[in-house]
């Protein structure tokens, strides 16, 4: 199993402010000096992950103090020169919201060349609240996503000169990526999803799918992916095509691990503080679902608020509850391995684990947790996947 360190690069000092954390917070909630220190710490954590034999994942969000990374690829460009071996995963570039696929292809190729072929490129839809920043039309977002995807793949693959492209969404007189990507025809491509249909579409293309901390989505999407992969490619899907993101907190004793986890879980709590205005732009959900919401006079998020048996979770959920829900893996190295293996077995295995840390956890706590994970958990997970799939890539 490959392990990928991931931090949202949060600005946690602003989380206690009553201001809404997404779309509308004033920029002066952020002290540039503190932000500078935090960003340097996040870079240092990625360097440590590289030294420990882990890979690295970055993401991006906009107009929110839960994530200061405004470009997954820009962060990776920094990391390309600060790391030696780690694969560098952008998960991802939100091409439903990014209005210029050509620029995405150029930046991806730049990172791939700079890192000598270590880029893994996640082409994702993006968060709906960010449609309010990009101004991309939500009603046509899905079609635009696939068009941008096709355009980026074509731009990265084509090496014999420019193409022109003219459509309702995108117009390029000369589309020509120089330098082209180091890996041919493109860096490995990833997608995120919570829906089996998207998992099937990724399987058709042989892409990696990542499920972000929703166990029931993994249980629905992994089988759909395996079935479609077998149907299209005529062989079983390798484990390395499947990925799960969890919050993974390790300490020498359980009490310390749960104290750290309680800090990390604040990220989830603050992430959900989206003003109802920005959760459900028109066209993101089918009219029948929006009719139901209209009658209930509410809006929705995808976050689960119950345990698997339907019991409501505490508010905010405790570390133990989130361990039961497989959102969080926390404890001593033995406990964390046991929790991950239990989940791994329940979904038929996966070859990639995204290890999320951050939030108000201190830099020292994150580094300690990473060392314990890399030294005492990761080798056993590697053995686990080797045993299940001796010839896995």
């Amino acid at each position: 199993m490959q392990s990928w360190y991931f931090s949202e690069q949060s600005y946690a000092p602003a989380w206690d402010d009553p201001q809404r954390p997404k779309v509308t917070p004033p920029g002066d909630l952020v002290d540039p000096e503190i932000a500078h220190r935090l960003l340097r710490e996040y870079i240092a954590e990625c360097k440590l992950a590289d030294e420990l034999g882990m890979n690295i994942m970055t993401n991006e969000h906009h107009a929110t103090v839960t994530c200061m990374s405004v470009s997954a690829l820009m962060t990776l460009a920094v990391l390309a020169t600060h790391t030696r071996r780690a694969r560098l995963l952008a998960l991802g570039v939100p091409i439903m919201n990014r209005m210029d696929p050509y620029r995405v292809a150029e930046e991806a190729a730049y990172v791939d060349v700079l890192s000598r072929g270590r880029l893994e490129l996640g082409l994702i839809k993006g968060s709906t609240f960010e449609l309010y920043m990009s101004n991309a039309n939500p009603v046509t977002a899905n079609a635009r996503y696939w068009e941008a995807h096709d355009l980026i793949v074509t731009a990265l693959s084509k090496r014999d000169g420019p193409i022109s492209y003219e459509s309702d969404n995108y117009n390029y007189r000369y589309l020509n990526v120089i330098p082209p990507s180091y890996q041919r025809p493109t860096p490995p491509i990833w997608m995120t999803t919570l829906a089996p249909q998207t998992a099937r579409e990724a399987a058709q293309r042989g892409y990696v799918i990542a499920i972000t901390a929703v166990a029931r989505a993994a249980r629905a999407c992994f089988p759909a992916y395996r079935e479609e992969y077998q149907r299209v490619h005529g062989r079983p899907a390798p484990l390395d095509r499947l990925c799960y993101l969890g919050q993974v907190v390790v300490a020498r004793d359980e009490k310390t691990a749960h104290e750290r986890a309680r800090k990390l879980l604040r990220f989830n709590e603050v992430s959900e503080r989206i003003d109802p205005r920005f959760i459900n732009p028109p066209g993101m959900m089918p009219p029948a679902e929006n009719a139901r919401l209209l009658k209930s006079g509410t809006t929705t998020t995808h976050r689960n608020r119950t345990l698997p048996d339907g019991t409501p979770m505490s508010d905010p959920p405790t570390p133990r509850e989130q361990i039961i829900n497989h959102v969080l893996f926390a404890g001593t190295p033995d406990q964390v391995y046991g929790q991950i293996k239990t989940f791994y077995d329940s979904v038929g295995g996966f070859g990639n684990l995204l290890v999320q840390l951050g939030g108000p956890m201190t830099h020292d706590e994150i580094c300690d947790s990473l060392r314990l994970y890399a030294n005492d958990v990761m080798p056993r997970l590697q053995a686990l996947t080797r045993a299940q799939e001796p010839v896995a890539a």
């Binding site: 039309n137 205005r277 732009p281 929006n290 139901r292 009658k295």
Partner: protein, 267 residues
């Protein structure tokens, strides 16, 4: 039992099914609905149908009309579709009344051709951008959940909190689909066409602007700029009304409209 003032039927225009409501007789009056669609049960509709032949198509994607074809993404696109619709119905001497989003559509049609129109009435219309880039002329209704829209649309407190939970499922589904199509046409730029204000001078038929004095979506001053942009246009401001004066003050609305139509008929 009160007789229905009109009835709906489906017609086909340029390959798309259009839900067309029609009632009354006399001078043809074309109603272009706002962003939440056409409400045949509104009091002003019955009042109009008692006086005129009222024709109220639902735009593609609204009401029971078919979905907009893939190429149709702007009110500019929609306006050409409506020119086809007016040809298909062979309507002449029309009084066109556009409400909010429907006013935007009416203006987009009128700057292209008024050949089938006798007069134009714009009610709390959106669609033009007059101010500088840092000043928003039109409230962003897409930054408001659909169930909260009445709080922005109405002045009367009793209309601002409708019991959506009691709405039949089919009616709720239509409202939700209307909102999706409203987003398709109005998302960006927010409820306006960038250059429509440069073209309004082309409207050469008698025009009247009607506005709710307490409109929270587009202020009365915005309405006055519309009036000043169309040569000879008049304006009536209706008190105790928000964005939908035809709903909140149907009597005052009909009176203003009839005065205007009377001046047109006298010409």
């Amino acid at each position: 039992m009160q007789a229905q003032p009109g009835a709906s039927r489906l017609i086909e225009v340029a390959g798309t099914q259009v839900d067309l409501w029609e009632g009354g007789s006399g001078r043809p009056v074309l109603l272009l609905h706002p962003g939440d669609g056409f409400d045949a049960g509104a009091a002003y509709v019955a009042e109009l149908a008692a006086r005129h032949r009222v024709i109220a198509p639902s735009c593609p994607g609204f009401g029971r009309s078919g979905n907009p074809p893939a190429y149709m993404r702007s009110v500019d696109d929609l306006s050409y579709f409506y020119l086809d619709l007016l040809d298909a119905l062979d309507l002449r001497g029309l009084v066109v009344i556009g409400f909010s989003f429907g006013g935007w559509l009416a203006a987009e049609i009128a700057v292209k051709s008024t050949a089938r129109m006798a007069a134009l009435c714009l009610v709390d219309t959106v669609g033009a951008k007059f101010s500088d880039p840092m000043t928003r002329d039109i409230t962003d209704l897409f930054s408001v959940p659909l169930y909260q829209h009445p709080q922005w649309l109405y002045h009367d407190e009793t209309l601002r909190h409708p019991a959506y939970k009691d709405l039949p499922d089919e009616a709720a589904a239509i409202l939700a689909r209307n909102h999706q199509t409203f987003g398709l046409f109005g998302w960006a730029p927010t409820l306006h066409s960038r250059h429509l204000h440069h073209r309004l001078h082309r409207i050469g038929i008698p025009t009247h602007i009607v506005w709710g004095a307490q409109d929270r979506v587009v202020a009365v001053d915005y309405g006055r700029t519309w009036q000043q942009s169309i040569a000879g246009a008049g304006m009536t401001v209706i008190d105790n009304a928000g964005h939908y004066p035809h709903v909140e003050q149907p009597g005052a609305f009909i009176a203003a409209l009839e005065r205007f139509v009377g001046t047109v008929a006298a010409r």
